[in-house]
Symmetry: C2
Subunit: 119 residues, 2 copies
């Protein structure tokens, strides 16, 4: 991305919570799964196969777009959506950092529970 744009944005630090919140919905997870296949899909196409209204799907897509997980571009009368992986990379990194922090202090807590016979 930053290789393409000459106006290289300084990769603004995004908060993780909104990204996780955007992923905290089955419908949006399904949209992400479909868009991650690499195709461009219009709103109507994404609505087909769903039991929801076009407007419902549109709202979900806007949520994903605000979280940066999806990009929208317009061709003619249709809005095409494309997957954007960066926020998911960052989210994954965050989960990794939390897991690593846990791993480092795991030994300290291991057996602690049984030792103290906690319920």
């Amino acid at each position: 991305m930053s290789r393409r744009t000459p106006s290289a944005r300084p990769a603004r630090r995004r908060a993780h919570a909104p990204v996780f919140a955007a992923l905290g919905d089955r419908t949006r997870l399904a949209l992400v799964a479909k868009l991650s296949e690499g195709e461009l899909y219009s709103i109507s196409q994404l609505t087909q196969g769903s039991r929801l209204t076009r407007q419902a799907i549109t709202k979900h897509l806007r949520v994903l777009e605000h979280a940066g997980i999806v990009r929208c571009m317009h061709r003619g009368r249709e809005s095409l959506f494309a997957f954007n992986p960066e926020p998911l990379y960052e989210a994954k990194s965050y989960l990794e950092s939390v897991s690593e922090q846990w791993d480092q202090s795991l030994a300290r807590l291991r057996g602690f529970v049984e030792e103290r016979r906690l319920t």
Copy 2:
């Protein structure tokens, strides 16, 4: 975990959306960060340093508990919370799978946007 329990549960397939939803809140992310340090914290301890009420913190902890991210045990009059990494591992794996699917079809989409001059 499953090593301890003789009634080895078949590691029920958990949906990802609830885990992400539980992480989609700054307060809860802060709680996860603190608990991932490996210490056991009571509700009062977790409330100290926060501007929120004890009940607010309690509600957030219950959300994390239902998502499996946190475990609660009782000692005397206090409720001690411990971090549980499994759901986060699974969430990380899910993000990885989505990213990999994207990577595999990246070449197919690369240049597609510029080629078609989409706005």
